[in-house]
Structures are given as C-alpha cells and as structure tokens.
Symmetry: C2
C-alpha cells in the first residue's frame, strides 16, 4: 500500500479524492499497489465528508509523515503551493499537480529540486485538463524536433468566441452566459485576458525546447476587445477568430511565442474546436501535424489526469521520470515587435474610399480589402502580407496621424 | 552507449535508421545514452548505403550479440517476425515494433514473455503511425474507465472515401489514384477489406480492456462495396461514410467490436478527418471524449514512433514498462448478430413506392425514408432505429423474398 496526500479540496481536489476512491480497485491493478489517501489538506471544514477523518489544516502533518510518498498539490496559485511543493520534494516525496500557474512560474526550479532528491514532479493536468499532452510531447514525440505548437488552450474564451461566431452574441452577453454556466469566474480576467493560456503555452514551450519560458516574456493579448464586426470580417475572409497560444523556434534559435486572438482558416484543424473544448496542434519534423482534442477543464477530466500522475509516481517510487527542463534566460524569446506575421486591420475614416485605399496601400504590404454586409460607409477592413510587428505599428500610427482611426488589428495565423 | 539492431530495411526500417542517425545528438540527450545501430537485418543488399558495414543477413548475429540491448522489428508480417521477436525477448533484449499484424495476433504471448524476462515489448508505432495513442491510453487515461474507442484507423481507405465524398469519384477511380500516389498497394486487400483497421482496433481494445482480442473474432467489413449512391444518401441524411474501427464494453462485460463503414454525423469529431489522416476518439468516464488526430502512416511518422520506443527502452533497460494484457478467450466478443445499432438501407424494387413503404415499415423499426437527387424511380432508401443485427438480416431476407432487392446496408454510428 502507498499513502498519498491531497492538498486542496476545491473542485479538482475533491475530484481527485472521488476518482481515487471510486476507482480504487482498477487503479490498484494499474499501479500494482493499493493507493490510500492519508491526508486531505484544507483550511475549511468538511464535517459531512465521508473522508472527514483524513482532513488536516496543518501542512506539517503531511510533510513530517514519512509514510506519505506522493502528494497531489491541487490548491492553485503560487503561494503557499510553491513552498509546500518545495518542502515535499526536499523531503523525498513526489508531487503531482494541476497548478499551471506554479509550473509556469517555478517549473525549472521545482524540476531541479525533484531531480536532486530523486523524486518526480509531474503535471499532466496543468495543460489541457484530461487531454494527454505533456507525456505525448515528452515521450512519444521524443524522436521529433518540435517545429511548432499552437493551441486553443482556454475553454472559457473559446466558449465566448464560439457564441459570438455561431450565435452573433456580443462579447458581454457571451461572457455573462459563460459565468452563468460556471465556465467563467466572477472575475474572468485570468481567462479573458489570456493569462491562463499564456501559462499553458509557457509549459508546453519549456517542455518542447528544454528551457523555461517565463510568462512575463510572452506577449499576451486576450479577447476583451473582440467585436462582432471582427467576427464578420473573419468569416468573409474565410475563417474564424480563435484565441491561440503559439510557439515556434526561429532560425536564430529564439522562440516566437505569443498568446493572442488570430484569424484561423476554416479548414484548419483548430477552426472546428468549439465551445469549452481545447485543441492542441503539435507540428513535428517527422510526425507532421498531430492534434489533441478534448475538454480542457472540468472536475473529473482534470482529476483523472492528476490521478494518472499519482499512479505513475507510485509505479516509479524509486525511479525518475522523464520530465525536465532547465532555467531559461531572458533572451530566449524573440521580442514581440521583431516578430513577423500578416495582419487584419479594421478602420474608420471619413476621408472616403479612394483616399483611405491610397494611404493603406502605401503603408501596408500587399493590403487587400475585405468586406462585410451592412458595414457603415466609413468602415474599411483589409488584410496584409507578412510584416514585422513594429512596421505594423508604425503604419498604424501613420494612419492615426492622418485622421484614420484603427479599430482592430488581429494577427492572421499560418496554421 | 547502447547498441541496437534494426530488423527490416523497408520503408519504416530505413526511416528508423534515418531518424536515429540524423537526430543522434538530440536523441542521446533524451535517452541519456548514445544510441548506436550495430546491425541492420535484411535479406537484400544495399551496397550504396552509408550503413553498408552494419548489414547482416543472419539473424543469429543479432541474437547472439549480448551488446545489443534493444531490437526494432520493422519487418512486418507474422513470420518470421514472431520467431525473431520471441527469441530476442527470451535472450533479454527489449523489442519495439511497428508490426500491427504481429501485435494483433501474438501480443498477449509476447508481452508475457517480455514480462518473464524483465524486458519491454513496445509498439507505439503499430497504431496511428506517428500519432501518440498507445501510451496515452495506457498511461494518461489510467484513471479512467474506457467506455468506447472509435477510430478512422486506415489512411488508404479514408483517402478513397474522401475522394468519393468530396470529388464524386468512383471507388475504382479513387483506389487507382491511391495506388498511383503510393497510398495503396498493388494488392490493396489488407486496407480496403478492413483487415489493417481490424488489427489496430484489436490492439487498442486489448490495451483498454486488458484482454487480448484476436482479429478472427471481430466482424470486419471493408469499403469495396461502397457506391456514390450511398455517399449521396449519407450526405442527405446529414453525414459522411467513414470506415470505423470501434469497441465498447457492454453491460454484460462482453465487447462490441467491429470494423465497418458507418454513417457519421457531420458534426462528429471524426467526420472531418479526411484524406490519409487518422483520427481516434477515446471516450473515458472521467475525461469525456478525447480525440487524437494526425498522419497514421508514412515513413517518418512511423519511424519516429519506433524511435521514441527505442528511447524509452534505453531509459528503462532495467525496469519494466507499463504495457500488458492477458490472453483473451473466445467469449469476450459479443457475437456480431447479437449487437444492436440503427442502419441505413438502400433497395431496388419495381413494386412501387406504396408497396415498398408498407413492407419496409412492417419489417424495420421506425423506418424513415431518405432521398437523393436524380434517384431512379425504383430506388428507395431509409434509416431505422436501433435493431439487433439478426433482426436486420431477417428483415432483409424477407424483403428479398418479396422481390425487393437490398443494394446496401450500412451501420449508423452513435458517435
């Protein structure tokens, strides 16, 4: 029998306890050991829980109990999850987690501590909920050079965009509906401003390229500014708008990594990933495109990924698993202004079609006008060829100085 | 340094050698050991190969060389691959393979020999080419009960069906094109008659349910009878025809496992898997639907999966990996005639609409007529509710006795 502790009894934590207890028999068969939950750490009280005797408010109970070999950290947030995780690893306990914020900000350090103490730090649940993605990238694609990873990594924003695209719902209405359905939190900033997706693409990039990419170096743009006008133009262009976390290695070795809304062509594999689903495309030099699709969040999917990691730790109590990356410097990310991509721009001007067209074609590379039905007279939209971001920005500034107001600027994906 | 041998220098074998040598540095980093190809086994001669000194025609060179720790069997076919694999495992060498035929027919036995000799027998490349699927099912979904697996598992037939659906090409023309492009072999039977897909669904079923399911117990129907008329009716019904390998566990513990063409609704995740791509849906009780998508064949995708298994073996030279299932009896598969599903039927009769409708509604459960443009006067088509297969067959026989000729009968999927 192997004893484990669960730290945090929120949505994921209670799911972990549920999966471990309800599937205990089949899990024991797979882990080749009975798995017993010795402690559940939470500051709240759960007097009616069937596990009431396992609850503790004192982290030291777990830390100082040498019988506890594996700890599931499902508290979320950086503190005190970071301190707790570090202490467990130093004490020779393996730790598994769904905490993307912690992995994205402290992963390299915690992986190194795990290595030094010959224990495991696993985090399959931190990206894509129940979709297997961390292991496939680190194991199955081990014989590939990863050219690019691009994903719809946040279900909340994908739900909102889907409602805007499919039902012509405004951003505010769609957000309200997502909150009502429990898909979005009261304070939805981490989702709609792209921070959640940013943490996830940082974890995938670190894994694929072996060096920690910290979220603060990643240009991150959410979907708060998204309008139905942009959705209509995307459709007339032949695609949809999705919030994409993307990373690729450039020829000079730096990473082009961003989180932002993008125009995606309708026949792209990511264009049909709708509602709260996630889709992650991994482009390998040998495999070509491989896509993983499923529910990226939710109590049971995420809990089942955490439990799969617990099983793996139990099977590898004396062996180290594969996951590792080293600390990354501040120069591994190409500055956003120096990245290159085509762009869609929507603008407003009373100068008239001919004058606007002249200015736009002079400033933007191969600008082609696109149209939508019922556009007001003074609205114009176009798409460009590849341009450096700072050239895009200079061109936008030049338009503004001529009294042409830029309403939207959205990246066009090469996916 | 770890020495390995590659048995078979065909498409996959030469790809394995290519990936191992061209990525040797990054592979060494991942495996934490340099990997050296000591032997390549092939009965042919390759005097111009840069690896000419490694070739041998004598299997015993590999078998009796204790320096060879890992062997890649990429010969295909059951014999002599089976004997070679067995002898290698018995000698304490780990074996990795892309040979689905061998795994599907001898998997349980070879896995047991591997277990007894404390070595590994891995076969990520046997299903889905470069798409990670074996490991995700066995590891990441370990905390799930697998409710169902359904997949487009054969790229050749999917290419042919895609051409029929998208370009209205006849089966024969599409097959000819597939042969011209190198997607189909001169003798295409293994692909178009469903045997290749059958081997793959057997491997996935064995893995998910822990008991070997042998291909001879699986009802297997290919796409040779497929017509453009059926494609048109599928479209008017709201879907497409795909060759699906499917397995689910029934309440009585038996497996409903088949390979056959099915009507798939347009909004199903598998409906948009086109051309030579594969898509595999795994329905877990906790994760819900997870879909894996990518190129299911090809030299480099398959080779990269084989190499990933080699890396895994090198990292686990003294440890056993997770893969295992036991021998299955002949009673684990529900007899096909006792399975239940709705069906599409197309028929030909000169009895006239009213007479045909009367007979059909009397014999089939809730039969609803479906239409296509330009159908001849004497053609009729309908879809039913769930029916036992032997009831379907009895009803078809009754129609035939009344002079109504059944042209097509295709399963309707619940995906």
């Amino acid at each position: 029998m192997v004893q484990v502790a669960v730290m945090g009894y929120g949505v994921v934590g209670s799911g972990v306890v549920e999966v471990l207890s309800e599937h205990s028999e089949s899990i024991a068969k797979r882990a080749k050991e009975q798995i017993d939950i010795k402690y559940i750490l939470d500051i709240r009280e759960f007097p009616d829980s069937p596990f009431v005797s396992r609850f503790t408010k004192n982290f030291d109970d777990i830390l100082n109990d040498d019988d506890v070999k594996v700890v599931a950290e499902v508290m979320g947030g950086v503190h005190p999850a970071y301190e707790f995780t570090k202490q467990c690893l130093l004490k020779g306990k393996s730790v598994v987690t769904s905490n993307k914020e912690l992995v994205a900000t402290k992963g390299a350090e915690l992986l190194e501590i795990a290595r030094q103490n010959n224990v495991n730090y696993l985090f399959e649940a931190s990206v894509g909920g129940g979709i297997p993605i961390i292991r496939p990238i680190s194991q199955c694609l081990a014989a590939n050079e990863v050219i690019e990873i691009a994903g719809i990594l946040n279900g909340t924003t994908n739900f909102i965009l889907t409602k805007m695209i499919r039902e012509n719902m405004s951003f505010d209405d769609a957000l309200g509906m997502a909150q009502k359905l429990g898909y979005a939190e009261k304070n939805p900033a981490a989702d709609v401003e792209g921070h959640d997706a940013c943490r996830k693409i940082c974890i995938l990039a670190s894994l694929a390229y072996g060096k920690h990419v910290y979220p603060q170096y990643v240009h991150t743009n959410g979907i708060t500014g998204m309008t139905l006008e942009d959705v209509a133009y995307a459709s007339s262009w032949g695609g949809v708008i999705k919030l994409i976390g993307q990373v690729k290695r450039l020829d000079d070795g730096q990473l082009d990594i961003t989180v932002e809304p993008m125009f995606i062509e309708k026949n792209s594999q990511l264009a049909n990933v709708d509602d709260v689903f996630n889709g992650i495309l991994v482009r390998g030099d040998a495999t070509g495109d491989v896509v993983f699709y499923g529910k990226g969040a939710g109590k049971l999917p995420t809990a089942s990924a955490v439990v799969a990691d617990i099983i793996d730790c139990v099977k590898h109590l004396k062996a180290r698993k594969y996951l590792h990356w080293i600390d990354g410097g501040d120069d591994i990310v190409k500055p956003y202004s120096q990245t290159v991509y085509p762009v869609y721009i929507r603008l407003e001007s009373s100068l008239g079609k001919q004058a606007v067209t002249e200015k736009v074609t002079a400033l933007f590379k191969n600008a082609r006008s696109i149209l939508r039905t019922n556009a007001p007279e003074n609205e114009f939209a176009f798409v460009t060829d590849d341009m450096l971001v700072y050239e895009q920005e200079n061109a936008v500034n030049a338009l503004e100085q001529d009294g042409i107001h830029v309403l939207s600027k959205i990246r066009i994906s090469d996916l």
